[in-house]
Amino acid sequence: MKLRRIEVKDFRKLGHVVVDDLGDGLNVIVGDNEAGKSTLLAALRAALFERHRVGGTAAAAMQPYNQSVRPEVLVEFERGGAIWTLRKAFCQRQEAELTGNGERYVGDAVEEKLAEMFGFTPSSSGGTKPQEHHGVFGLLWVEQGMSHRQLGIGAGRNHLASALEREIGQVTGGERGRALLAAAEARRDQFWDKRGNARGEFKALAVQLDADRQNLADLKRRMAEHDERVSKLAGIHNILARYRRDDTLEASRKRAAAARQAAASVAGLEDALRAAAGAVEHAKLKLDAAAARNAARRRLVADLAADQSASDAARSARDEVLATLARLEAVAAEAAIRLEAATAAERQATARLRGMEQALARRQAAQAVERLTGQLKLAEQADDARRKALALAQASTLTAEDVGALEKLERAVEQALMRLEAASVRITLHPQGAQAAHLDGKPVEAGTELSLSRDARLVLEGYGEIGIHPGGGTEELAQAAEQSRQALDKALRRLELADVAAARASLRQQEAARAEVKTHGATLAALAPNGIEALRQELARNALLAEGAEAEACEPADIEAARRDCGEAAAALRAVEAEAKERGAAVETARRDLAVREERASVAEARCAKRQEELVVARAEADDRTLDEDCAREEQAFRQAEQARAAAQAAFAGADPEAKQIALKQAEQSEREIEADINRLDNERREIEAALRALGRDGLGEQLAQLEGQIVLSEARLKAMTLEAEAAKLLHATLADAQRETKDRWLAPVRERSAPYLRLIQADSDIVLHDETFEIEQLVRNGVAEPFGGLSVGAREQIAVITRIALADILREAGQEACIVLDDALVNTDEARLERMHLVLGKAAQNQQVLVLTCRERDFLQLGAPIRRM
């Protein structure tokens, strides 16, 4: 269908509007807001889809506000090459007329014809709703403000579906298919979790089976243990029965008794052997005793003989020593005489030497007394003189400094006097006569120069008095001179000197005395270096030595000779003394030796006597022959005992005691072992029986068989359930795959048709529609799927417009051509996109009539389409 002309009268706000000359492709109808573009679309819808006799709100909505008129719509359209004219009047004097293709319809027939022509469902009563009643026009005619919403395919779905079917030849599984898919999914989820692992009953069964198998293994093990015990018990029963049958214990007891008896007879032989051995020992002891006694006697006789010879030897040794002593004593006496003579000679030589030495000493002392006396006298003189000079030097304390000070004061006095004199008035009186003159009451000699340094009164006889007043500070000079003098006087007084000259003399005197002290000191030191007192004592000592009788004069040479004689005598004496001492010692040694020999001789004699006595006593008891006989007898007895023992030994050895012992031990051990074995087996039997009884209560065999049956059952169930689980998985997968593939094929035409338009605004993108509702589900951009609702409003309206165009293409190709009406459909699109969308619209208009209703004329000027203004 292509619209050619629309005329509206009294429809809502539109008074009378005519839009004509609508072309094949793009048509733009411009009107300001409120100019009635949307009303124009509503009038178009009313003409095509509302019954002309419609009443109620639908009719009321056609009336202008607050008016009651007769809204009328006239539409001319071309369909299948024929031009049709449709006219409908509503509300009052409702009318409907459709003419074209040589046909004419009036009234309700018009409605039926329209429904047939455009394949929509006329509303039975009341107004219509685009999505329910307008067929494909509900899809293709987009009202203002609705463009970004879902397509709202509604009743257009069937047209679309049949259009698609025409291409694909197949439809989807429908409601039932989805229900089957949901059921398959639910069934699969019973068996498998999201990761594809078994779950729920399926998993529990496998787990249970595993647990049962483990349990079975455990039971089997316990059963094996049980069986082992039973067979062990059987073994024990067998052994015990054999013991009982063979009467093994009694037999072994008998064997042990016989062995014990045999062992007892061996023990008797052993006792006899032990007794024989004891007898041998006894005989041996007795023999030993007799032999010992005999030996003791022999030893005693031998000892006595030895003692006698020892006594004789001791005695001859003593006699020999006695002779030696006598000889030594004679030699010693001779030496004593020689010693006496040598002693006297030495004493004499010594006395002579001492006399000569004393005489010489006295003479030397007398000479020393003479010398020392003179020396002492001189020393005493020097000492005296030194003392005097020292006293003199020490009497004055005046020093050279004192003298210097005095001289200095003296010079000061002199200088003051000289200065005074220079300043004084010198007056020399030369009286003509002898008139006397008195100065300050003292007569002045004529011709004498008076030197006046202070006011003076000179009375000249005959003249009178002259007052003299020296000027220019004489007074001070005189005073200074006076002070100097007084200082000098004071110093002199302090030093108790008359004047300076005296001081100088006194100083000189003092220096002379000091020199003298030094001189005399040196003299004294030379004479009596150790002091005078030492000198005096030396003198006294020498005086003492010199006292005594006058000694004969002798010479040092004599003394020397006498000293030599004396030395020789002493040496001779020493030689004799040594000899005498040696001899004496030899005598002493011989004497001591003699004492020892004598002691030894007496001891040997005593011992000999005692031994003799002993032998006598012993022989009195038993003589030597008796002892010999005893010894022989005991030896005979010993030999006999030995023989008896050898016989007993042979008897014992012949009885094979070791074999008998081993046999006994074995028999006893065997008895013990058998008894223990029986007891042990019996205990073990009881223990095993008790354990088996305990096990029996559990019914191991029943449990085992029960579990085996259960496992067989579980295995079968698991096998069946595994098959079911696999089947559930397969069913779901197969259904889901089939659905996806079908859907892909089903909607492929929509994708194909929309692709060229989409490319114009968005490269590499794809629109995904719901296979049933045909609503837009997703936009896939660069492989990323976005839900339609998540796109921006602008993007949504662009995608929706493109989809509508694509669907319109499909419908048109299916023979259901219908124009597209877009009422301000791209208001949310930005300028850049709008330009692209113009390309889309231009492309769509190549095959399709497109009516664009807009209030934005400027936006559509570039479209190159005829523009009509309302």
Partner: protein, 374 residues
């Protein structure tokens, strides 16, 4: 006076029936003791001289104490002598169910024939010659001593043994515990009472298996009987009456479905409808059915499961063959159809490892479809 006794064997008390889960298994276990009570009452009613149990009274030597005690309780209605022969399941080992039973202090009328010694009594009318097994497998013939066993002239000699009779039993696998087929003759026995084979059977002259009194497995061997035997004298022919004692009936049913429907299988079950609660059934299904039939079969089987004491279905040989109707029912178009086609192809391809899963998947889809996709 004739000697009358009850011959039974293979009670297998304590058999666990582990492959029958839940209460059904527990009831099978309990019934084995209950049936012994029935035997005791029968023995008392028929006033027999003795009850001869020819081995395997117990399933194992390691049953629980309570199993032994409850068995002893079940014996009480008959106060005559019970002669128990240890068999291969309850061999008289050093420690066995018999040594345990002895320690529990059983009644005096309980005789454990665990020694090869003649058992006398009954006023000298009869002597029992037992051949007890003292291990699970005896390689030597334990009945050999019967031949030489001396008994007073005119006394009825009855042999009691457990094992397989050489060359006689159908499919007898065990070569151990063999009994010569002519033992009754060589030993001059009036009757040789045997155990081990679970069906009631005369195997040789004067040689009988009584079988188990309570059937315990699927095997067409006439199990579930005891013998009441009467012997008028050593040479008189034996009079044997087999009395049915089994509470549960065991059935093994095979059905092959050749017409694409499950009718054959369901008809086979319908034949067992009478006393269904006493039946233990194994159903083996073969053939191919449509998905619709398979769905119906499942519903019906569920019904039978509840009615039988136990129903075990082996459907490994049953294949779903989706028909066009099945597929149309699922969906005639759309992706479901595609999925069905694929599964069908997979199921038909035996080389595909997922073939079995694909078959089950088809059945599942059909079930889901029938359940409205819920």
């Amino acid at each position: 006076m004739a000697f009358r006794f009850l011959h039974t064997a293979d009670w297998q008390i304590g058999k666990p029936f582990g492959n029958v889960p839940g209460d059904a298994g527990a009831e099978l276990r309990a019934q084995r003791i209950a049936t012994i009570g029935e035997i005791a009452r029968l023995a008392a009613t028929r006033n027999v001289d003795a009850v001869l149990v020819a081995g395997d009274a117990f399933d194992s030597n390691e049953v629980q104490d309570r199993t032994i005690l409850r068995t002893l309780d079940a014996l009480k209605p008959f106060s005559g002598r019970w002669i128990f022969l240890p068999g291969n399941h309850d061999a008289a080992l050093a420690h066995s169910v018999w040594s345990r039973l002895r320690q529990m202090g059983p009644e005096e009328n309980i005789v454990i024939a665990d020694r090869p010694q003649p058992i006398e009594g009954w006023d000298g009318r009869a002597v029992i010659l037992p051949a007890p097994l003292t291990r699970r497998r005896e390689s030597l013939d334990q009945t050999e001593w019967f031949d030489a066993a001396a008994t007073p002239e005119g006394m009825v000699r009855i042999g009691l043994a457990h094992g397989s009779v050489a060359n006689r039993l159908p499919g007898a696998a065990e070569a151990s515990n063999e009994i010569p087929e002519d033992r009754a003759l060589t030993a001059g026995l009036s009757y040789l009472a045997l155990g081990d084979w679970h069906g009631s059977l005369q195997i040789a002259q004067r040689t009988w298996y009584s079988g188990t009194p309570e059937t315990d497995r699927h095997r067409a061997n006439r199990s579930g009987f005891v013998h009441i035997v009467e012997l008028d004298g050593p040479d008189a022919p034996e009079r044997v009456e087999a009395v049915a004692t089994s509470h549960f009936q065991w059935h093994q049913v095979e059905a092959e479905m050749l017409d694409g429907t499950c009718r054959a299988g369901l008809d086979a079950l319908a034949e067992l409808e009478a006393e269904a609660a006493r039946r233990v059934v194994t159903l083996t299904l073969k053939g191919g059915v449509s998905l619709a039939e398979r769905y119906r079969l499942e519903t019906e089987l569920e019904n039978w499961r509840n009615r039988f004491h136990h129903l075990d279905v082996d459907d490994a040989g049953l294949f779903e063959e989706p028909t066009d109707d099945d597929l149309d029912a699922l969906d005639s178009s759309g992706f479901v159809r595609l999925a069905v086609e694929r599964l069908k192809a997979q199921a038909a391809n035996d080389a595909d490892p997922q073939a079995a899963a694909a078959r089950v998947a088809l059945r599942m889809m059909y079930v889901d479809h029938m359940n409205g996709g819920r």
